[in-house]
């Protein structure tokens, strides 16, 4: 499995960059992942609104929320989510939020 390095620590990720040890996620690591994977210089409040909701939903249900719930709860359109996370809700936002890669026919 590939690894990424941040502040002297190594983090295992899958071949698409999804964190394999979710307990190691931290807001600082999210900033770093946003930089290397999404080319985002600094996460804004809008980014955090998405990330926090994804993490809360995941804690409660063990999966990422449907895109429609994400949009309704944050008030952001799908297009806006793509503007915030260029790789999209799954490959961008979920990855930065430390969620596992979505599975199944999604």
């Amino acid at each position: 499995m590939p690894e990424i390095e941040f502040k002297g620590q190594k983090y295992i990720v899958d071949e698409d960059g999804f964190l394999q040890e979710p307990e190691k996620w931290s807001p600082e690591l999210a900033e770093h992942m946003a930089k290397i994977y999404e080319g985002i210089d600094k996460l804004t409040d809008e980014h955090w609104k998405v990330i926090n909701f994804l993490r809360d939903y995941f804690k409660k249900y063990g999966i990422a929320p449907p895109i429609r719930i994400l949009c309704k709860t944050t008030g952001f359109s799908l297009q806006k989510i793509y503007e915030l996370f260029p790789s999209g809700p799954a490959n961008g936002a979920c990855k930065v939020a430390g969620l596992p890669k979505p599975t199944g026919c999604v």
């Binding site: 698409d16 063990g62 999966i63 449907p66 895109i67 979505p102 599975t103 199944g104 026919c105």
Partner: protein, 529 residues
């Protein structure tokens, strides 16, 4: 054009380089696709750890370092089981027939969209893969092969190189069975792909993680291949009920765990997450038609997915048995499979051979039920509500395999105004390119192969179906009544930028029916997602 011919014996030879490389100039030309992303399989990234020497792509990602002797022994053991009645009672008969009956006429070769799209790379020919299995079978399991050797079997050498490459090669076929449809002898090379995958999974533990660890294993443990547990599912049902209200202002219930009703409806759970409008539309249609139905909130009961059908009979059977247990407990009259092709195969076709007769409950596809409902005149439908150009994708498992051909067409004629067939269509239609699990296998560099090679023919068909309206500023809708196909078509539209270029979008069938109901506000939203 690169027309290098690979021989079966080449697959056993050591090499650091792929036996075949896909080049852009080799690929089948697609009209109306002036620009497309450049090929970049990024082989260097993977070649250190994985065997990339088939075609430079990785679906499974078979590790390079393996203990050869044990691998060969296990493979041979699996091969023996494939041809033994005790171990393979479900599929031995067709497998044995197809192993014997190929006349090598090559009619099937030109029927394969992967072979054609790739620029006729011979390793993708349907009988190439089958011939490897045939030679191995004759060499190791028949007395003539053991006595007379390659003179009767054809050359083949079983070693780690062959096994690793053959494992990947068993994931270069979508099991669309178009080759079987056209074969004058009735040989089904798709079944041979399936048997090879089974051997690799059940005997060698070699399978894509999306199908196994994250697929059937997760589904049996948690309840769904999406990782959705019953609580998450119930939460989503509440959300969908609210969402229906937001869309059309009606209170529509999605009943849970109701006993003794007519239909247990099982959707592919991916619908709830990626396309909730589809199960929502089912609820509206059933409510309008006065149907008594229920969803199940038991683990597995809310996910029709059965990836076992693509690679592993043991997992397939566990899921089928679990589903029938739930349906029996609920005491429903029929099981209705949602818009999902491979689940239709698993429950409408394969389950018939597996479920004991005292546990059997009739299974139907939702397409048949919608057709019955609409024919009965219970729904008021106005086709002019769907006045945009619509084409229909025929999911291979529903149409070619299950013979469900006309219901979806009758439905579309009653609820849309500008329905145009793809060409070819019905039982000769082309796979979306995401069949047999490919749509949910994005790992390594496989996505590129799916977009460029296996999905190429579908892009060509879609663009051709809309060729007279491409320039018009109207939404064009690809109706794909299958979750897996829908995911692949979404990815193709995104990859080739067809929404921005041509306003081509996609969706299911149930949504179109609800959108045609004249007394409720429009149900469809044309935001590409």
């Amino acid at each position: 054009m690169n027309r290098k011919v690979v021989r079966i014996t080449d697959l056993s030879k050591p090499s650091d380089e792929p036996l075949v490389r896909i080049a852009q100039e080799d690929l089948m030309p697609v009209p109306h696709l002036e620009e497309e992303p450049e090929l970049n399989p990024n082989i260097e990234k993977y070649k250190e750890n994985y065997d990339v020497t088939l075609d430079g792509y990785l679906a499974i990602g078979v590790p390079k370092e393996v203990e050869e002797k044990a691998l060969v022994e296990r493979f041979l053991n699996g091969l023996r089981k494939l041809f033994s009645k005790n171990d393979n009672w479900t599929f031995l008969q067709p497998l044995a027939l197809y192993t014997d009956y190929c006349a090598k006429c090559r009619t099937c070769v030109d029927a394969c969209p992967i072979y054609i799209s790739s620029g006729r790379k011979n390793i993708y020919e349907p009988p190439f893969r089958a011939e490897i299995l045939r030679r191995l079978y004759r060499k190791y399991l028949t007395s003539s092969g053991k006595t007379f050797g390659s003179f009767v079997t054809g050359e083949v050498e079983l070693n780690a190189n062959l096994i690793r490459r053959l494992a990947e090669l068993s994931y270069r076929c979508t099991i669309c069975r178009r080759c079987a449809q056209i074969c004058p002898m009735g040989v089904d090379n798709g079944l041979i792909t399936h048997e090879l995958r089974k051997l690799f999974s059940q005997e060698l533990g070699i399978h894509p993680k999306e199908l196994h660890d994250k697929g059937t294993v997760q589904q049996l443990k948690v309840g769904s291949s999406t990782g959705m547990n019953p609580d998450a599912f119930k939460g989503l049902v509440s959300f969908m009920e609210e969402d229906i209200k937001d869309r059309i202002g009606l209170d529509v219930k999605m009943p849970l765990d109701e006993k003794g009703v007519d239909y247990l409806v099982i959707h592919n759970a991916g619908e709830f997450l990626s396309w909730p409008e589809n199960p929502e539309a089912f609820a509206v249609i059933f409510e309008r038609a006065g149907v008594s139905w229920t969803l199940s909130s038991e683990q597995v009961g809310y996910d029709a997915v059965n990836y076992g059908v693509w690679y592993n009979d043991l997992q397939l059977t566990k899921l089928i048995n679990r589903t029938f247990e739930i349906a029996n407990k609920l005491d429903v009259k029929e099981i209705i499979i949602g818009e999902c092709g491979h689940a239709t195969k698993a429950y409408y076709v394969v389950a018939e051979r597996i479920v004991p007769s005292d546990k059997k409950i009739p299974v139907k596809s939702c397409l048949q039920i919608f057709d019955e409902i609409i024919n009965s005149g219970k729904l008021d439908l106005d086709p002019s509500r769907n006045d945009f150009p619509i084409t229909l994708h025929d999911p291979c498992n529903m149409v070619r395999l299950s013979g469900i051909v006309e219901p979806q067409r009758r439905i579309l004629r009653k609820c849309t105004k500008d329905f145009r067939e793809m060409n070819p269509n019905k039982e000769m239609n082309y796979c979306c390119g995401g069949g047999s699990g490919f749509a949910i296998m994005p790992s390594y560099n496989f996505n590129e192969w799916k977009m460029k090679v296996s999905g190429r023919m579908k892009v060509k068909q879609i663009l051709s179906a809309f060729s007279d309206v491409l320039d018009r500023d109207v939404v064009k809708y690809v109706c794909a009544p299958c979750s897996n196909c829908k995911g692949q078509i979404r990815d193709l539209i995104r990859y080739y930028d067809l929404w921005k270029k041509y306003k081509i979008t996609y969706g299911g069938l149930a949504e179109l029916i609800v959108n045609a109901m004249p007394d409720i506000p429009g149900f469809l939203e044309f935001e590409f997602h």
